[in-house]
Every structure is written in C-alpha cells, then in structure tokens.
Point group: D3
Chain length 61, copies 6
C-alpha cells in the first residue's frame, strides 16, 4: 500500500518511466517487505513554466 | 470544506465526471452533514503510461 | 483505478469515514463502471489552524 | 523547504505565474525566515471541466 | 479558485501560518485578479524524519 | 527536480524510511541521469482508519 506520486519535468520518455517504476517498486518491496502489487506509482509531467525554485520559473533559466 | 482530488485514467467523458461530482457531493453532504458549497472536487486525468502498479505501466498491459 | 484523497477537518469519526468510503466507492463504481477493488481512498485530517480560506485560518473564525 | 502546489484554472499566462512565484517566494522567505532557494512551487493547470464545487463542474456554470 | 498546499517542516507557529496565509492570499489576488474568498490554503506539517533530499533524511543532518 | 510523495501505513520505522529514501534516490539518479540533490522525497504516514480500498477501511479488515 505505498502510493507514490513522482513529479518530474515534462519530456521524460516512456522507457525511462518504465525503468524507474520497475526499480522503485523493487526497492520498495525489498525495504518494506511488501508485495509488488501493493505499490502504486503515478508520474506527473510538469512543464518548466509550471515549476519555480527560488522564485524563478525553470523556463526562465 | 472537504477538498478532494480524484486521479483517474485519461479518457473519462465530461458526462461521467459531471455525474460523479454530483453523486460524491451528495453523499459527502449526507454523511458529514455539510452544505454542498463546502465540497470541492478536482479530477486529474492520468495517462496509462504515467500510472504503474506492481512495477508495470498500465500502457504495457 | 481511481485514487482519491479527501482532506477534511480533523475530528470526523471513524464511523463517518467508514460510511463515506463505502458510499463514494459505490457511486464511483456505478458511474465509471469499475470494480470496487479499483477504488482507493485516503482521508487526510487537517487541523483548523492549518486551513485558510480568504487569507484567514479557520481556527481564527 | 516549503514545497507548494498551486492548482488554478487553465489559461493563466506565464507572466502571471512568473509574478506569482516571485511574490509568494518573497513573502514566504520574509515570514518563515528561510532562503529563497528553499522555496519550491509547482503550478497545476486545471480544466474547468475537471473542477467541481457544490457538485457542479465549473464548465457548466 | 486557486487551491494551494504548502508542505513545511513541523514546528512553525500558528502566528507564522496566519501571517503567511494572509500574505500569500493578498499577493495571489493582486496578481490573478481574483477575490480573496477564492483562495484556499492548506498547510501540511512534515517531520524532519519524513523529508529526504539527496537521499538523506533531514533528521539525519 | 523529481519531487516525490510516498504515502504508506503509519508505523514504518525511521530506519526503513532512511533506507528507502537512499535506494529510491539512487535508482532515480541512475535512470534519469540527474544529481542526487535534485531528488526530494516526502513520506506521509497514513493511519489504517484513513485508508480505504474497495470501500472498506483497512482498520476494519
């Protein structure tokens, strides 16, 4: 029952998400001792104009 | 003042969202005893390639 | 696969949450045509001092 | 280390987001006494058909 | 209708949250041209043992 | 700049969170090719009475 959301910059490939979901699920099961079917991961693609750090949009850097 | 987010697979029609928002608001008011104007619902459409269960993207099933 | 979060003021009883989870799941399955085991709901209890509307904390009203 | 998400109706300009991110970061640092690089803000654009208040979608108003 | 969540380290005083909610609401209304009653802010207190940056819990620093 | 939230049942030890944060950060950097300081993880402890699947609270199972 861990439920994860992962916000990352738009543009990451499906291949990267596939590999990342697989690796995070494996590590989560190993550490928490749960079955893989309990792990739910949702990726959220964020445009650089929608993410600001230190008061500055990443699209402006 | 309940504030809800509902993540669901992309592709659900506006009609479904309209009916679901209406039904969930009605049930929430009935159970919690609050007025409908207090209930805020946000739907988030998730692509199947952005949702993984058991380490596997739903777009790969 | 709808995954819901419901933020509500701290202090709601387990009975209310039980009834609300049951009702929302039933309505969701009816409208979306999914099975109940696909519906995941997480309640988040929010203190009144942690929720502000119109710039004013609810604990100050 | 405050991390913020701001859900707002789709259609706000990048200029508004830029100005809002700057202002919120400045006020946060002033009140909390933290450095600007600690403030992370993510905007989430929400379609009016994905936001309901009082059981009614904003696209239906 | 902006709805905000602000995650910050546990231990911030109610006075700080009160002042921050007031300031952020004021700036949001100024920039977006909305009324204050449209702005909803939820603070989420996070324990240092529940926040990791660079793979390290803040409680371990 | 991936920012993650991980909701899990209350009661997991700090040791588990420490190890999980370390492992997820390492895998994320490997797959996405980012530096560890870009990875932010927030754990959210959820009581079993606050999590429902299939319309049933986990505290009732």
């Amino acid at each position: 029952m861990p439920a994860m959301t992962i916000k990352l910059f738009e543009g990451r490939s499906v291949e990267m998400k596939r590999e990342l979901a697989e690796a995070i699920t494996r590590e989560t099961c190993r550490v928490l001792g749960c079955g893989p079917e309990a792990v739910d991961i949702i990726f959220e693609d964020v445009k650089k104009e929608n993410w600001a750090t230190a008061g500055k949009l990443w699209s402006d850097r």
